[in-house]
């Protein structure tokens, strides 16, 4: 009750402050108390060159690509979407060659896949990883925009039933690696995972554990349908909200940080201008792990289209009407 009164008082106070046409172009907004949350359509942006927004080939990437694209559209930019480019190698090539002007990449992935940093050498601290990636990107003429707060890292998952049955209830990778049946366990992952140092190879190197690898396009289907015992999953997966799955903790911190940083070509970054850059920062601000899981759930569980999910996100968060 008291909380309600306090909230009401706060709202009334806030209403009394500021003025109607505050187009402050806020750069360091803190969510609340920001009247410029709504993206303003600036007709000057329509005269600029069309911005091509790309993305990689899985749900979260489609959602992020759509969010950035729709946000820029709301700001009046002409936007073309080239989502579902493919794996990161293809996306990066497209970005460097100018086929796309921007796409969201994970800091850890860029360091290990583009800039020849060995998985073990990637800074474990998100900001340090981001700064390193930013420097390396800059050499290629690409601006790595500030990172998101959420990260989407690899997790090892299994069903709660299998955890009891096969893993003896163990909850960390170190413990699982020491189990007597450790090498007989099978783990499912996307094809490239088998040879990636930040995926299956990492298990070998960091935990001295070599489970059987099952190449599978699905993430949770193999675990559910008994095609494998465990699976490499993503920390922001919608399925994790179902409460069916148990996460085995990466206690030795094998996986590097994977925060999102929108990689933008130099020329496009200038085209965006302060306004455009702020729009990007604004819309990615509320994206924490819970928010991403919700958005991912809408695509992977509710089977909604990423385009609609992004539109709903922008609307519900007050960025568009």
């Amino acid at each position: 009750m008291l909380a309600l009164v306090a909230a009401l008082a706060l709202a009334l106070t806030a209403t009394a402050c500021g003025d109607d046409d505050s187009d402050s172009g806020s750069s360091s907004d803190s969510g609340g108390g920001d009247s410029a949350k709504l993206i303003k359509d600036d007709p000057a942006n329509a005269k600029k060159k069309t911005i091509v927004v790309g993305s990689k080939n899985f749900d979260e990437q489609y959602i992020l690509g759509e969010i950035y694209a729709q946000a820029l559209e709301a700001a009046g930019f002409k936007v073309e979407k080239k989502l579902n480019l493919g794996s990161e190698q293809i996306a990066y090539k497209a970005l460097k060659s100018g086929q796309v002007d921007m796409y969201p990449e994970y800091t850890g992935t860029s360091l290990t896949s583009f800039f020849d940093v060995k998985t073990d050498d990637v800074p474990k601290e998100p900001d340090a990883a981001y700064e390193l990636a930013k420097k390396d990107y800059a050499k290629e003429g690409i601006v790595a925009m500030p990172r998101t707060s959420f990260e989407n890292t690899f997790r090892i998952a299994t069903t709660k039933a299998k955890q009891k049955e096969l893993l003896d209830g163990k909850t960390t990778v170190s413990e699982v690696a020491k189990l007597p049946n450790a090498s007989k366990l099978s783990i499912a992952g996307f094809p490239e995972c088998e040879q990636r140092s930040d995926c299956l190879q990492g298990l070998k190197n960091t935990y001295d554990w070599t489970p059987k690898f099952v190449s599978d396009e699905g993430k949770y289907q193999p675990i559910d349908k008994d095609r494998s015992d465990l699976g490499f999953v993503f920390s922001t997966d919608g399925e994790l909200t179902l409460g069916k799955y148990a996460i085995i903790d990466d206690d030795k911190n094998l996986f590097p940080p994977y925060n999102i940083s929108l990689g933008v070509r130099d020329s496009t970054y200038k085209e965006l201008g302060k306004e455009g850059q702020d729009v990007i920062l604004k819309v990615q601000k509320p994206l924490n792990e819970k928010a991403m899981q919700e958005l991912n759930s809408r695509v992977s569980l509710d089977k909604q289209e990423p385009e609609k999910v992004a539109a709903a996100y922008l609307k519900e968060s007050g960025f568009t009407k």
Binding site: R196, D198, D216, E217
Partner: protein
């Protein structure tokens, strides 16, 4: 222009990929080289051969029967045709739910892909055998099964083999989707560019193309061998049909 030069370089790189191991794009693993690729090739050939044998075993008898009876043209041709439109990738994922990953899954998909050309061609080749010849055989007292075996089949051989050729090429080319069901055919380097890089993709693709060309030529040779001398001498493609100057009744023969 620069892309062309780059491609020549990539081409050389791809050939090198076939003959020499190297480190993967992401680092940490050795990929490529004759040993690894031979392993992929073996799986590739195995699954393709299995599919072709099964598909032939199914299609040829059915095609012979229907072609001899003259019934079921719609089944043999139209349904067949439409069957080609089912994307193999769709089937793979669809079957995963029922057959799981693995060899069986891919084999079933490739069999489904291989049947249409063989079935259509067997049907057409059988049905198109000259009426006169069949009548003559009947007149000599041959039973249906004898007619099929001793008259229709030999005369239809070239057309049937043409169908087998087409199937084989499709099957070998499509076996590259094996990785979608966890079967490591030569499609593995193509579908995992993060590890194998562009030259790896190109190298594997070249190998598939090479194998396919060899298979095509090989079956073409077999086709030549099994064509009854009489037809070869007549010099025409497929069974002869000569009827005055009137247009001949020709049904579609698949390539």
């Amino acid at each position: 222009m620069s892309t062309t030069i780059a491609l020549l370089g990539d081409f050389g790189d791809a050939v090198q990929f076939i003959f020499q191991e190297r480190e993967s794009v992401g680092g940490g693993v050795q990929v490529g080289g004759p040993e690894e690729l031979w392993g992929f090739a073996k799986t590739h050939l195995l699954v393709s051969l299995a599919a072709m044998l099964i598909a032939s075993a199914i299609s040829v008898p059915i095609g012979l029967y229907l072609g001899h009876k003259g019934k079921g043209e719609f089944l043999a041709i139209s349904v067949s045709n439409v069957g080609r439109a089912v994307p193999a990738v769709v089937l793979v994922f669809f079957l995963v739910a029922y057959l799981g990953n693995g060899f069986l899954n891919i084999t079933v998909v490739l069999v489904a892909l291989a049947i249409p050309p063989i079935l259509t061609n067997t049907y057409v080749g059988t049905a198109q055998v000259d009426r006169d010849i069949v009548d003559a055989a009947r007149g000599m007292g041959m039973k249906s099964s004898q007619i099929v075996r001793q008259v229709r089949l030999p005369l239809a051989m070239p057309t049937i083999f043409a169908g087998i050729r087409t199937s084989a090429v499709s099957v070998l080319a499509t076996a590259t989707i094996g990785p979608y069901a966890d079967v490591k055919t030569l499609g593995w380097p193509i579908l995992t560019p993060q590890t194998y890089g562009f030259s790896g993709q190109l190298g594997a693709a070249l190998l598939v193309a090479l194998i396919t060309l060899l298979a095509d030529a090989g079956i073409g040779y077999l086709q030549h061998v099994v064509t009854p001398k009489g037809i070869k001498l007549a010099g025409e493609q497929g069974p002869t049909r000569r009827r005055l100057a009137l247009p001949t009744r020709r049904r579609e023969a698949a390539t």
